[in-house]
Subunit: 332 residues, 2 copies
DNA sequence: CTCGCTTGAAGAAACGTTTCTTCAATTAGG
DNA sequence: CCTAATTGAAGAAACGTTTCTTCAAGCGAG
């Protein structure tokens, strides 16, 4: 420690008895200098423990190579709670670091962001909300931004996502009988992945002459969910499509759902997959997202943008379909 | 987008027909300016979309408020795989952000770090290796560093950790009968937490006249572990203390261990806890680490250092003890 | 009328680099 | 021996701010 003043290039120059230009040239291997001078300067710099100031460098180069990583929260979940996010952070960071860029973890709060005085070369926003304020903040500050998923009320941003629409459509193709009555259960804020997934399901129903109805839970509490589930059951649905795995598990916990599902009179599907679905009492088919690949591609898009290339339009990644057939089907 | 040159304070000054000083004063609320001028300048700045350069600011202020977060890998595990690390990253980041500092995710690789030209105000290193090269790198660059756990071959760094020694000692007090024959099984690189834990166990044995023997596996593969376990069993140990939860689970999978443990003739303990231990076939007591608190305190220590206060010596956090009594004891 | 105080605003230095330009001294060539 | 080219090294500008200092104009008081 000991607040020793930082050693600058001027200190080295003075100590070596040369000009700052000479020091700069000697250390960077540029300019026209005899080896003798070069070595003398290098030795002096070493002795003094000189390190060039990254900030001064950044001032010249117009950028330090910092990229933000920002995750819009879903409810009260934090990075730790959602493996999907942790995977994205890990892989995006890795990609950035390999390119010599440093990933900065950003809060999804305009107030906190405003306090951070850091020169971002770009930022990735994961799961933006509708009318996302952070996205607006980035636009105002002219920070390049790529999102994973999209802000449903915004046209302009560059985004990537799993191809949830195509994924769900394909899952229906494999797991659902034509003519089925579909019930979609949504929960929480309107998210682009859910919208796309429902669009995919709708395309399937249009092709196969099935019906589709959407149910929205009032809240994430068990009572609201129970209420919606009983509505769904009354509606005579053959197939329930849940917005995400946690919701699917809660729906699966309903005794009537479990009874009908085990008898193959009901099929439970989820728009997102997770290891926990494996453990559910009844089979739950799902579309599996690919956060690692998604993160890598998003980071690469960001790198392209930083290097001045025009970003491509939206990119949609094909997904894996996880079919967990009902016991009845297995027996057949 | 569109590589439009950045708007500088000079542009605003020219557009408003004033000097840069006036612009700076007008926008920061300092200086002596009539409201009229102030507003005119503010309007011009707004119109042009002027944003002060964070780098230029940083150059004056000697620092941008960037703190590194670096995790020394254990084997091939990444951030995603270890909940402990994800928790640390989450909570440390939160603490930094609340203090207006921006957390940067750093690789545990000197080569990659050297390519990153960023002005770090400090860094946290989690689980440093013995003779950790990254720690040396930080020292050379004069980057303030706090570690979670410590480099066993280094005296000088400021570090915090769970109090593994006291924790294990207390666990023994509660779970182990005096006179027991203790076998400690270690795996992988020598880590400070394991060294401390073994020291705690040794203190307990010295007080209670028990014996302690240490076994090191050759590698992380099942064969090496089996070999060590059979040695341990031959040694007639009553108590096995495993270096971490994953190792404990593998040891628990040994049939002979399971047999003896279910009969209360053997007690299996682990230096680290995890939810998976709950699911093990036999009871495994453990000391539970507190990554959230640890991360918060470490981040606060770092903030203190950045603010110029002398860091305290090592800080050890009291741990929770998770006793999972053998079935025999439950019956009694 | 002039001195001194206040007000409004500009100039300049400093933060730490790199790079472009300049310049003197040395060497080679005719 | 004089000119031209080369070599070694320094000067200065630029990157974008903030802040300390300076300065002129206006105004009231003596």
């Amino acid at each position: 420690m000991s607040a020793t003043r930082k050693i600058t290039i001027r200190d080295v120059a003075a100590a070596a008895g040369v000009s700052v230009t000479t020091v700069s040239d000697a250390l960077s291997g540029k300019g026209r200098l005899p080896d003798e001078t070069r070595q003398k300067v290098q030795a002096t710099a070493e002795r003094l423990g000189y390190r060039p100031s990254a900030i001064a460098l950044g001032l010249r180069e117009r950028g330090l190579g910092l990229v933000g990583l920002c995750i819009a929260p879903a409810g009260n979940a934090a990075l730790t709670d959602v493996g999907y996010w942790a995977t994205i952070v890990t892989y995006a960071s890795q990609t950035f670091l390999s390119a010599g860029l440093a990933p900065v973890l950003l809060p999804h709060s305009v107030d906190m962001l405003a306090k951070l005085k850091i020169p971002l070369d770009g930022a990735i926003l994961v799961d933006p909300l509708v009318d996302d304020a952070v996205l607006t903040f980035f636009e105002k500050r002219r920070v390049r931004c790529v999102t994973i998923g999209r802000d449903l009320n915004r046209e302009s941003t560059c985004w990537l996502d799993d191809d949830n629409g195509e994924g769900v459509e394909r899952m229906f193709e494999q797991a659902v009988a034509p003519g089925s009555r579909i019930a979609v259960v949504t929960i929480g804020q309107r998210k682009s992945y859910a919208v796309d997934a429902i669009a995919g399901a709708t395309r399937w129903t249009e092709r196969h002459g099935s019906s589709i109805a959407t149910f929205q839970t009032e809240g994430p509490d068990d009572r609201s969910i129970e209420a919606v589930v009983s509505l769904v059951l009354q509606s005579g649905a053959d197939v329930i499509l849940a917005q995400h795995d946690r919701l699917a598990l809660r729906i699966a916990a309903n005794p009537e759902v479990a009874r009908r599902a085990s008898g193959a009179g009901l099929r439970l599907l989820s728009i997102t997959d997770s290891p926990e679905l494996e453990q559910a009492g009844i089979p739950i088919s799902a579309v599996r997202q690919r956060p690692a690949l998604l993160a890598e591609m998003t980071a690469k898009t960001m790198i392209e943008m930083i290097n001045g290339r025009q970003p491509a339009g939206p990119v949609l990644l094909p997904m894996d379909i996880i079919i967990r057939p009902p016991a009845a089907a297995l027996r057949a």
